[in-house]
């Protein structure tokens, strides 16, 4: 088993652990998700059809509209949400949404492209207060 640590900017939300779901793609709760079923619904998204529930979602950046700030809160209220979202660079909307929903959310990784550093299936611990992500891989 391989274990390594990734430094990032201080984030928002609580410390959480879970299984990674990774895409070199972008993210919007409005554009990309069927929030009732808890899956990516936009056909062009790399994760189309995949469940994001309880995953550590790892994507490139945030897209589009302001709705995600409310939607993360709504998703968390029904327990149909990722446990954390890691970005290369996030826009204000997702950061605000993470802060409001108390969802773990981090970006700006020192070692480079987080969508290449972490692989789908990795076990990941996210500590936003420390700006530290720990990855375990079989």
């Amino acid at each position: 088993m391989k274990k390594f640590k990734l430094r990032c900017h201080v984030g928002v939300g609580p410390e959480v652990s879970g299984e990674a779901l990774v895409a070199d793609d972008n993210f919007s709760a409005r554009y990309d998700l069927d929030r009732i079923k808890g899956i990516f619904s936009r056909p062009q998204h790399q994760l189309a059809g995949e469940s994001y529930v309880d995953k550590i979602l790892v994507v490139n950046t945030a897209k589009g509209g302001v709705a995600s700030a409310w939607m993360l809160h709504e998703m968390v209220s029904r327990n149909v949400a990722p446990r954390a979202i890691l970005f290369n660079n996030v826009n204000p909307i997702l950061a605000q949404g993470g802060a409001f929903a108390d969802m773990a959310l981090c970006d700006r990784f020192e070692a480079g492209d987080v969508t290449r550093l972490i692989q789908t299936g990795d076990r990941v611990n996210v500590n936003p207060a420390l700006g530290l992500v720990t990855v375990e891989r079989d």
Binding site: R42, T61, P92, A95
Partner: protein, 414 residues
């Protein structure tokens, strides 16, 4: 973050629970983006359709609204983005009483906080356009990019909770576009094909947005030979913000911070990318659909100006839309009142179309409306809408207003 005495008092709860929550929320965001302090804002604009809010969001707003009056009222003028329901038409659209009830509860909460129910994403055309240098807390990405770029105001994208926090405190964390250093161009594009229709302008915004691709990039465009008006800039900005999460662009010789290229970048060091006719052809081709039966034609995202309403009426005069096609037109309450008074709405609706007031299509339970009405193939002249609506189960196609109307009449995409 450095706080002044009033900000510290709000954070301490000395000015009520809503302002304490607001300061706490904004400090979390401010620390995330390394904001040193807060900046005073003069207006706030909030996106809060009930599809996004859900029951949890509505309950949150109701808790705020239940606070004592002197604690819950916003401190600066605060207005709303489009709502998800037009109470005159929601049943016809397949929306439910449950949705309408959430909407009523949200409106009650907002009104008790002193928020003005303008219900519009074209407030810069209809309510109170900001002036250059004015710091704002605006929601709706199309509103923000227009006010930053065309009017020279200073706003980040503010999601609903952060807009509300700004309204309650008159403050927002000073980061990103509130700082001059972040407003210089980082990407340079030369346009060699001139956009004609509003959908062309939207396509140009979509192409630039997709290429630039991040909130932290600022595109500067050269090569536009015509003088764009407000509706052209509206469609370009809305699409750029939608495809790329871009909050600010410069158009050399047009937008106020870019009288010359040198005023927004070091022209010698910023490489130029070309946007040519083939890029436009490829952009429209992504959405396809010619010859397909069209279920619903939508003019929305952004809401239509009075001039767009008039242009649409001219195209529809004397025509009936196909019996198996719906045509929806979304505009702001201010424009709707004028359009009614001038007979424009009557002309549009004589064709069988439906004018919706104070709502926007994609903020209105689009998935449920589609399922209730059997809508799949959607045609629009909004590049922003085609980017959004695929995730709601639609097959979108982008075309000009003229071709959208012709298709609505024919019942298939021409």
């Amino acid at each position: 973050m450095n706080l002044n005495d009033e900000e510290q008092a709000m954070l301490n709860g000395e000015m009520g629970e809503p302002r304490r929550w607001a300061m706490d929320h904004m400090m979390r965001v401010g620390r995330f983006f390394d904001a040193a302090d807060f900046v005073a804002v003069t207006q706030a604009h909030i996106m809060a359709d009930t599809e996004s809010l859900g029951e949890a969001g509505v309950v949150f707003l109701e808790r705020m609204a239940a606070q004592p009056k002197h604690h819950r009222r916003v401190r600066i003028p605060m207005i709303t983005d489009p709502r998800g329901i037009d109470f005159c038409h929601y049943k016809r659209l397949g929306q439910t009483d449950l949705m309408a009830n959430l909407e009523r509860r949200t409106i009650d909460a907002f009104e008790s906080m002193g928020i003005l129910m303008t219900n519009t994403c074209i407030n810069y055309q209809t309510i109170m356009p900001p002036v250059r240098g004015e710091h704002l807390a605006f929601g709706d990405t199309g509103v923000v990019i227009y006010c930053n770029s065309v009017l020279g105001a200073y706003s980040n994208f503010e999601g609903g909770p952060s807009s509300l926090a700004a309204g309650l405190t008159g403050r927002t964390p000073r980061y990103a576009l509130h700082l001059d250093k972040n407003r210089k161009a980082t990407k340079r594009y030369r346009v060699t094909h001139q956009p004609q229709s509003l959908s062309d302008w939207g396509a140009l915004g979509g192409i630039v947005g997709a290429r630039a691709g991040s909130y932290w990039e600022v595109p500067v465009l050269e090569g536009i030979e015509s003088q764009p008006g407000s509706d052209e800039m509206k469609h370009m900005g809305a699409a750029m913000a939608s495809f790329g999460s871009i909050p600010l662009f410069h158009l050399v010789g047009v937008t106020p911070e870019a009288p010359t290229l040198d005023s927004v970048c070091d022209a010698d060091t910023l490489a130029t990318e070309i946007i040519a006719e083939q890029d436009f052809i490829d952009f429209f081709a992504r959405f396809g659909g010619k010859g397909d039966k069209v279920d619903v034609v939508v003019f929305s995202a952004p809401q239509l100006s009075l001039m767009e309403m008039q242009a649409l009426a001219e195209l529809l005069d004397g025509n009936r839309i196909h019996q198996h096609t719906s045509l929806l037109v979304a505009t702001s309450p201010v424009v709707a009142a004028d359009a009614r008074r001038m007979g424009i709405t009557e002309r549009i609706e004589a064709s069988g179309a439906l004018v919706l007031e104070g709502m926007c299509f994609y903020q209105s339970y689009a998935r449920e409306m589609g399922e209730a009405n059997g809508w799949k193939r959607l045609l629009t002249n909004s590049a922003k809408l085609v980017n959004i609506i695929g995730g709601y189960g639609y097959q979108p196609t982008l075309s000009s207003m003229e071709d959208c109307v012709a298709s609505a009449i024919a019942g298939e995409i021409v």
